[in-house]
Symmetry: C2
């Protein structure tokens, strides 16, 4: 809401606003987050969540700004995307009262080409250990990352969100393995399949099988790209 007059002079001093992204992928070694090394002050040389300013003349809305940042850094255009929250106070950025609008993205291990450039000297995947990375992060990005990881881990318990960490076609065993790795515990095969069947969000790809030196497995795909369904119980 707005308590003030129309002329810019009457508007109070505005905070700095950036859009920051916690971009997750699942590597063979575990969950990873994409970080960018800063090339300018403040926190020059530190790793940070990739982000940028809102381009008032270019971005139609917040999500468009976030997608622009994502595609600049990864070349990926349409992954799973969700707002994590907004973090703002007087101290987090030495340049003044600032806000970080944070989004979380889940991407499949294929389909990524890292891109450098801008005032960023490096972009790389960093493994997540517990709820942090090895490298210390710029600003309050460690806290923001923690919030994103907590959100992700919670949603694994009661939603189909982990499917977005897999490529377009996947088997039920692969999907179960993603759940197990994110949850850190083993799941019962028949119970897992029952839950997945109940919420009816994937479909077999007719005739497509994953072949190996054993019984072939049916490949599945999402019924609606980008969709997430909630269980009425934990998985």
């Amino acid at each position: 809401m707005v308590d003030n007059m129309n002329s810019p002079a009457d508007l109070p001093q505005r905070p700095i606003v950036s859009v920051d992204l916690a971009i997750f992928a699942l590597a063979p070694e575990g969950l990873e987050v994409l970080l960018a090394r800063r090339g300018t002050e403040p926190f020059s040389g530190y790793w940070a969540l990739p982000g940028g300013w809102i381009h008032v003349d270019e971005d139609r809305n917040l999500e468009a700004a976030a997608r622009r940042v994502l595609s600049d850094k990864t070349g990926v255009a349409t992954p799973y995307f969700e707002q994590v929250g907004i973090f703002g106070d007087a101290e987090r950025d030495p340049r003044g009262w600032s806000l970080s609008v944070t989004y979380m993205a889940l991407i499949a291990p294929d389909a990524v080409t890292l891109r450098h450039g801008g005032n960023v000297t490096d972009v790389a995947w960093h493994p997540i250990d517990g709820d942090t990375t090895m490298a210390p992060l710029a600003f309050d990005h460690a806290a923001i990352l923690r919030a994103a990881i907590t959100r992700l881990r919670n949603k694994v318990e009661y939603s189909t969100l982990p499917v977005h960490l897999l490529p377009e076609a996947f088997t039920l065993s692969e999907l179960q393995a993603v759940y197990e790795r994110l949850l850190g515990r083993l799941l019962d095969k028949s119970a897992f399949r029952k839950r997945i069947a109940e919420v009816d969000f994937i479909e077999p790809i007719a005739g497509e099988m994953r072949r190996a030196s054993n019984r072939p497995a049916q490949l599945y795909r999402l019924k609606q790209a980008g969709s997430t369904v909630f269980f009425d119980r934990t998985i």
Copy 2:
């Protein structure tokens, strides 16, 4: 995060940022939201979610800004408080690219004194019918309110959130009635009590009973003020 230099001249044009609140209470007639009638352009005369600017020199962080707005409008200092999200695009405010950081608050029907003032001519409770109010709302506040109501209704299914709509001391039957009114369906008494007992978030107030012309009922209170607990199943 931040792609730019330290000097203000290098920072891009900043969006306008307001903090808006969806403040809910449960009246005998149903769920209500607190709205303020705008006294200035744009949308002068329209009802809107109460809100205000971030006071860069006064508010230490976002939540402090939101609590300041709440206490200005209602006199209530410490209700349940949660971030709903941030809404931002080029068109929602005719004055330019703007962001609304939205919080949801749940307050008990006691403990509220409405306060007018500022550029607001009126503050009043409006009943919620489905997911809207009767009056048309300023800006995109109808969409923001819809998001807040959806969040609230979803959380009723799997959390103890509705307890914050009751006064400090309440009976189990009163708590069950709140759930039933928000969900629009009746719950089984013994199943409801089992769920509530499992999560162990309230305690009986020794010796305090609600008396009427029938068997007296034990009064309970939250074990930790402001806390919310999640069920691992729907209620």
